[in-house]
């Protein structure tokens, strides 16, 4: 189609003059260049996959994948994980009373750890049937506001509707995600065998991506005097405290750079998800496990309503390995694929033997 353009003129027959054989002089050398590219003769590598070349590959893949898979599986199995559903749907559950409570409600759930948790222990909260990945929800945020942009602070993006303004004042931080910040407080209490108890120290920092806390999220006008910086804005409707009072214990962990807030703002991929809540740092002496086996109580300040959408709330304690949290999938998948490859290798070897012979025989009469 495109090449036909050359003729646009000629077709009309407007051409006059040097059309006849007399014009031969004008055609000097129209001989095509003898270059490898133009003659489609570029040197080329022409691999052919034959049973002979693929066979070793299959065996090698099998031999690599199976150990990796076993390693992954063992690692995953060694990760200790403990999970409590504290939604309180069960009438016997201590948190059942909090379900319909309108005032702040505290409940505590006792549990026992059978095995010691070593190294750093990570405490997650998990929500089910919570659609953080709903489109209306995902886009309901203003990243330039969160990045400390002053004009966006006072004039948030339209995407934040209907959580953009409240009582005529701009909401900071605006949007549905911020408004629905997870606000249950979870505390762990360990009961020594002698019945004395100890509140386990929970670290609030290091739970969000480093780049998020340091670059993507910024307070307007730096970290000092947040009250003044957020003047002229109002807190989201569902929040108890304004954004600059999220963490009364650590002034550096306030405003948009509050790590609980940042973790929440990274929307989950699936409707059932977990988010990192606290880190329990390992003991300095390395002799006693971080969480020794024994009796514990989970103290909950129950604020977050999930019953209305059939949701569930969980608290998860987990150790972490190099591959992350507990997930047997990878190990099983690797073992399976490795075995399949190995098996295929064997099958191919048999086929190859048969075919190879037949091929050779067939060649002779020709």
């Amino acid at each position: 189609m495109m090449a036909s353009s050359y003729n646009a003129k000629e077709e009309d027959g407007h051409h006059s003059g040097s059309v006849g054989p007399g014009g031969a002089g004008a055609v000097k050398s129209r001989k095509p260049d003898n270059t490898a590219f133009k003659q489609q003769r570029l040197p080329a590598w022409q691999p052919i996959l034959t049973a002979g070349t693929v066979l070793p590959a299959f065996f090698v893949i099998g031999l690599i994948f199976i150990p990796i898979g076993i390693g992954l599986f063992v690692t995953s199995n060694n990760i200790k994980e403990f999970e409590i559903d504290y939604t309180g749907m069960d009438p016997d559950s201590p948190c059942n009373m909090c379900i319909n409570s309108t005032t702040p409600c505290r409940c505590s759930i006792p549990f026992t750890l059978e095995q010691p948790f070593e190294n750093n222990v990570f405490m997650y909260y998990g929500l089910s049937n919570f659609y953080q990945n709903h489109r209306r929800y995902v886009k309901s945020r203003d990243d330039s506001q969160l990045n400390g942009d002053k004009s966006s602070l006072l004039y948030p993006s339209k995407e934040c509707e209907p959580y953009r303004t409240r009582n005529g004042l701009p909401v900071a931080p605006c949007g549905a995600i911020a408004n629905s910040l997870f606000n249950d407080t979870l505390e762990l209490i360990y009961y020594y065998p002698n019945k004395s108890s100890m509140s386990i120290p929970l670290v609030k920092t290091g739970i969000a991506w480093w780049t998020d806390t340091h670059v993507k999220f910024r307070n307007p006008g730096g970290n000092n005097n947040l009250t003044a910086a957020f003047k002229g804005t109002t807190k989201p409707e569902n929040w108890q405290n304004p954004v600059y009072e999220l963490d009364p214990t650590n002034p550096e962990n306030n405003g948009f750079v509050n790590e609980d807030f940042i973790v929440w703002m990274r929307t989950a991929a699936l409707p059932t998800f977990r988010k990192l809540y606290r880190i329990i740092q390992k003991k300095k002496d390395n002799l006693t496990p971080t969480l020794p086996p024994g009796n514990y109580t989970l103290e909950i300040t129950y604020n977050y309503p999930v019953i209305s959408f059939d949701g569930h709330k969980r608290m998860i304690l987990s150790t972490i390995s190099w591959m992350g949290g507990k997930n047997p999938f990878l190990g099983i998948a690797y073992i399976t694929v490795g075995s399949v490859c190995f098996f295929l290798g064997v099958v191919l070897l048999i086929i190859h033997h048969k075919f190879g012979n037949r091929n050779n025989n067939a060649d002779i009469p020709n």
Binding site: E11, Q40, N120, I320, G324, I351
Partner: protein, 1123 residues
């Protein structure tokens, strides 16, 4: 073109009259009613499509008439109007790009046309007006103007020649730019017009404009003050066509009869109809399937969304309230916009980029044909020419080749071989080059074996010298050159070039006569000069030329010798001469003619007749009368010709060899081996054509010929139609029913013992088959005929008129299974079939450029057809087929995870991938490797393709674009899509994937899927690539590297223009997770595993697979050595 249509509309009342009256010089004529200036269109040529004002709307309108463009426009508008998950930029940008590029290209082409139009329209011409010579612009010429044209100028409109500066009232023109014939044609002035054009008062009555270049009938009434108006007939020889060039004549005057868009040239200009390739049809079919997939996906999602929302608390949970506007929206409108949103979200499944890539592949790919040095012919210093790049892949799909004989299979380089005078054979043993003209005249006896009487010999040679329309090419100004000077000026070697004729046979005959001592010196004011053996110049007055036409198949001249004898010489095909001469003469010569014909020579018979004075007067009167006729002139002339050319006596026959083209036989053999059926369509006679077929090995020794010609029809002595019916049934039984079921397998049929059939039919019988009277049997004959032909290895159709050639092509084209046809020819008579066939190929031969101009591809020689089809065609087909399948595949597995994600995000149209990835996927990440593949892939080396023609059968019948392979690719796409999505889904059952316990969100999910996707589809292509040049390496690994680089870059900066920094450090964080790495590697490997298995297991299958494999592995070393 619109203008032309308008002219037709407005010219409606004019059209009712079959002729127009033109007043020469706008002078009123006595005897006519009041002078009404007739309205004709002006002399403006408009070939451009657009003006500055209407370019934008018109061009846009035309572009959006293409279904695909329109679809993308709709998607874009939906994105603008409705709140959709992806920004309008994602589909607007590519669309804008495509539209702009096309508009620029078309605008540029139109600008060129404008320029050309302007050049023609503003050209200054001289017009005689009231005795003054006025220069005016060409576009202002009106019908009736007397125009002056000087040498080497083109005629500004169609003119009737009134006066020439030459003494003999002729002028020479060349019509090279009209029909490509570069020889000089002689045109004549209207007889008896006055020298003083000022006082000429005349009207011209002629037919309404019609496109046939060679037809014109008119009448001129010349009014003189003292006499009755004289009437002169006008024919094509008086008409000078716009676009032709005046040659060898100082200047002429002519009166404009047709102007502007009514000139024959403008009427002949027609935009070539757009040919569409089978691949394009496949694409459209696949597109429809994908459109259905798209619609059903959107429908499923919309339905499920409302089902899901109807459950309590799901539609609007407390944490995710709707805006007031959304709450107010009317429910059904909302459902509709939801549907549209899903459409937009999934619309990437039909990629706008595929159209761009396909166009680019075709455009760039066609350069390889022009660049191929094997197509370069040193003789004409030209290579192949690509007129359209739309049909590249069609070259790999050809099932029927229709070839012309003369000039295509044969060289159209005629050589006089022998003659037969009065039953005696004269064979010239010397080759032409050794011949010296002076030598011949000195010793003619040695060359001719004195067998026939000397008188007969000389009569025969004189006939050869006189009975033709050959011109002697002028060496200088002919009027001043005397005979002696001609001798001196034309050395014998150059004499070969010295003759110009419309048919090379005539030149060969004149040259042949020259060898035997009779030289034609030229035609000068109706006097033909020949030099006889005694070196004397004989003069003959040329009285009439009874032109050659394909129906009569003969031509005659009537000359008067110095002695006053009036002689008629006639030469023509044996079948047309034999009935017109005495039968006892025929018997002596027929043997020779038939022997010559079977040897592949073109034979002509020569006869003569002496006319006595009375006879001549009668003939002369009749001829003049017929020439003056305004109505049915052709028929009347024909009748007179037939009447005159009777009762002649046969003097001899000639044999002219038309040599086969280089490698014609090898080419034909290769085509047949490739499973292509070759049909020879020729205007030549059966015996000659048959022998050419044998020479080309189209018919083999063992081939049984099924003849269906006038001769076989008349054998039975019964009615033709009955016999035809009988024969058809008999042949059908032989070739179709008794033949073993034809296997379309890889096996070459000659290996099998089954009988091969060749079929021969001639024009007359063909028209009987196609147009026999009862309606019912006609279609029956046609289908019988087709079935027979389809089971024959070669078909020869002889005595074909150009239109019949096209008819045959059309018949085969529309037959069952609609096979792909290819026509190849070199002359103007092949244009109709070149235009009719799916692919038209022109040969840059001797018969002008018309075939080349109307063709889709032009090659210098027939032998190039082999490489064009077997190598280029095969490769192009495989490349584009793979390109199309791959595009659909990669977009299916691109969009399927996005569709599946809807089930996990509450059917909220949340995109899985970031907008940047959505846009860039088809533009940057995966487009270059497939483009490089589709330009460079040689799954089988070109040498093997050429050596093993049967490989062509592997891709026959659109093999890789049928539903089977399409299903395979679709399944593969679905498999990959499912694997990508659910693999990552399983991984994300615990989103704590980093070794510091931190979790991944939805954008990380999408990025992991996308990474697996990009790597898999690229590596899948790498697996398919059989021919890795450095370009392939560069683009494949480069694309992957670019993806990684881009992802880092895109996630590495807080982009101020973005509303959301979704991907900020997502990619880097993903790479810091071991699990992500492991899952990416696992999924890529798992998706490619079946592919690898298929590749390995498929290889050793079929007997010649092995052969292919044996030839294919060319190492670097081999290639380098060859260069």
């Amino acid at each position: 073109m619109l203008r032309r249509r308008l002219n037709h509309l407005f010219g409606g009342d004019e059209k009712r009259v079959d002729s127009r009256t033109i007043y020469v010089g706008h002078r009123q004529c006595p005897g006519t009613e009041a002078f009404i200036a007739p309205k004709f269109c002006d002399n403006r040529i408009v070939s451009s499509k657009y003006t500055v004002w209407n370019f934008l709307p018109k061009n846009l309108f035309e572009q959006f008439r293409r279904i695909a463009n329109f679809y993308f426009l709709i998607i874009f508008l939906v994105q603008v109007i409705v709140d959709t998950p992806t920004s309008p930029v994602t589909s607007g940008l590519p669309l804008f790009f495509v539209i702009t590029v096309t508009a620029i290209k078309q605008g540029y082409e139109d600008w060129l046309r404008h320029k050309a139009d302007k050049e023609v329209n503003k050209y200054l011409v001289t017009v005689l007006e009231d005795g003054r010579r006025i220069r005016k612009e060409s576009e202002r010429i009106k019908v009736g103007d007397v125009v002056e044209v000087v040498e080497d100028e083109t005629f500004p409109c169609d003119l009737i020649l009134l006066q020439s500066s030459r003494d003999d009232d002729t002028c020479f023109v060349t019509t090279a730019s009209l029909d490509g014939e570069s020889n000089h044609k002689t045109h004549y002035t209207v007889p008896d017009t006055e020298k003083d054009l000022e006082s000429l008062t005349a009207t011209i009555e002629c037919e309404q404009p019609q496109p046939d270049l060679y037809k014109f009938v008119g009448r001129m009434h010349i009014y003189r003050s003292d006499q009755d108006p004289a009437v002169r007939s006008l024919g094509p020889e008086n008409l000078l066509l716009k676009g032709a060039t005046l040659k060898n004549t100082k200047k002429i005057y002519g009166v404009a009869v047709y102007t502007g868009m009514e000139t024959k040239m403008a009427l002949n200009y027609q935009g070539k109809s757009q040919k569409r390739s089978a691949v394009e049809k496949s694409i459209n079919a696949f597109l429809l399937v994908y459109l259905c997939i798209l619609l059903s996906k959107a429908l499923v999602c919309t339905t499920l969304k409302y089902v899901w929302q109807s459950r309590d608390g799901q539609d609007e949970p407390w944490y995710n309230q709707k805006t007031q506007k959304e709450k107010d929206a009317y429910k059904f409108l909302k459902m509709f916009t939801d549907f549209l949103s899903f459409m937009v979200l999934f619309n990437f499944i039909i990629p706008v980029s595929m159209y761009v890539t396909v166009e680019m592949q075709k455009f760039l790919g066609s350069f390889f044909i022009t660049w191929d040095k094997d197509f370069f012919d040193p003789e004409i210093q030209e290579g192949a020419l690509v007129n359209t790049s739309d049909l590249n892949e069609e070259l790999g799909q050809v099932e029927y080749v229709f070839t012309d004989k003369t000039g295509t299979l044969t060289q159209n380089n005629m050589e006089f071989i022998e003659c037969c005078i009065d039953g005696f054979q004269y064979k010239n043993r010397d080759s032409c080059s050794e011949l010296d003209s002076f030598c011949v005249t000195d010793g003619p006896v040695s060359k001719l074996h004195e067998k026939a009487g000397r008188e007969k010999e000389e009569l025969f040679l004189r006939a050869l010298c006189l009975c033709h329309t050959v011109q002697v090419k002028e060496a200088g100004d002919m009027e001043t050159v005397s005979e002696d000077q001609i001798d001196g000026l034309l050395p014998p070697t150059e004499q070969q070039k010295g003759f110009i004729a419309s048919s090379p046979d005539e030149v060969a005959l004149v040259m042949g006569a020259m060898k035997y001592g009779f030289t034609f010196l030229g035609l000068d004011s109706k006097t033909m000069k020949i030099r006889n053996r005694q070196n004397d110049v004989e003069l003959y007055e040329l009285l009439h030329v009874l032109n050659f036409d394909p129906v009569r198949r003969r031509m005659s001249v009537i000359v008067r010798s110095k002695a006053g004898e009036t002689l008629l010489f006639c030469k023509g095909a044996d079948s047309s001469i034999f009935p017109r001469v005495r039968s006892e003469e025929v018997d002596r010569i027929r043997v020779h003619v038939e022997r010559n014909a079977t040897e592949g020579y073109r034979t002509l018979c020569v006869a003569y007749k002496q006319l006595c004075t009375e006879e001549y007067v009668e003939v002369d009167a009749k001829l003049r009368e017929a020439r003056l006729a305004l109505q049915d002139r052709e028929e009347k002339l024909m009748a007179v010709y037939n009447q005159v050319e009777t009762g002649m006596s046969l003097i001899g026959a000639t044999a002219v060899e038309d040599r086969l083209q280089e490698e014609a036989a090898e080419t034909m053999e290769a085509l047949q081996e490739a499973g292509i059926k070759v049909w020879v369509l020729t205007g030549d006679k059966m015996e000659t054509a048959k022998s050419t077929c044998y020479a080309c090995r189209l018919f083999q020794r063992g081939t049984e010929l099924l003849e269906l010609t006038v001769r076989t029809l008349e054998d039975g002595g019964r009615k033709r139609e009955e016999r035809l019916h009988e024969l058809l049934l008999e042949y059908h039984k032989k070739a179709v029913q008794d033949a073993p079921p034809a296997k379309l397998g890889v096996r070459r049929s000659w290996v099998t013992a089954s009988q091969e059939y060749g079929f021969i039919i001639d024009g007359a019988t063909l028209s009987l088959v196609l147009n026999s009277s009862p309606e019912a049997s006609s279609t029956r004959y046609k289908s019988l005929f087709l079935q027979i032909c389809q089971n024959c290895t070669a078909v020869l159709c002889c005595r074909m008129a150009p239109l019949q050639k096209a008819q045959i092509v059309k018949m085969v084209k529309n037959s069952k299974g609609s096979p792909i046809t290819l026509s190849i020819g070199d002359g103007a008579n092949d244009v109709s079939m070149i235009l009719e066939a799916h692919v038209g190929i022109g040969i840059k031969g001797k018969e002008g450029r018309q075939a080349v101009r109307n063709s889709d591809y032009a090659i210098p020689k027939l032998k190039h057809l082999k490489k064009l089809l077997l190598a280029h065609g095969h490769l192009y087909y495989v490349r584009i087929a793979h390109l199309v399948q791959y595009f659909f595949y990669k977009n299916l597995c691109f969009i399927l995870p996005q569709f599946l994600y809807q089930f996990f995000c509450g059917y909220s149209q949340q995109p899985l991938y970031d907008a940047a990835y959505l846009t860039m996927y088809n533009i940057c990440f995966t487009s270059m490797p497939i483009l490089a593949y589709s330009l460079l892939e040689q799954h089988i080396a070109i040498e093997s393709l050429m050596d093993t023609a049967s490989l062509y059968r592997e891709v026959a019948k659109n093999a890789t674009l049928r539903w089977g392979p399409f299903l395979y690719w679709t399944t593969l796409g679905i498999f990959h899509g499912l694997l990508f999505f659910f693999g990552v889904r399983c991984l994300f059952s615990n989103p704590a994937l980093q070794d510091n316990g931190q979790v991944f969100g939805n954008w990380s999910y999408g990025t992991i899927v996308f990474t697996v996707l990009v790597f898999t589809v690229t590596l899948k292509l790498a697996l398919d690539t059989r021919h890795w040049t450095w370009i392939n390496h560069l683009v494949i690994w480069g694309s992957l590297a670019f993806y990684v680089f881009f992802s880092f870059f895109w996630g590495g900066i807080i982009w101020p223009f973005l509303q959301q920094q979704r991907l900020y450090f997502v990619f880097a964080n993903m790479l810091s997770s071991v699990s992500a790495w492991l899952v990416i590697i696992l999924l890529i490997l798992l998706s490619l595993l079946p592919e690898i298995l298929v590749l390995v297991l498929r290889k050793p299958r079929g007997p010649h697979r092995r052969q292919v494999a044996a030839v294919t592995p060319l190492s670097y070393k081999n290639l380098k050595e060859r260069d």
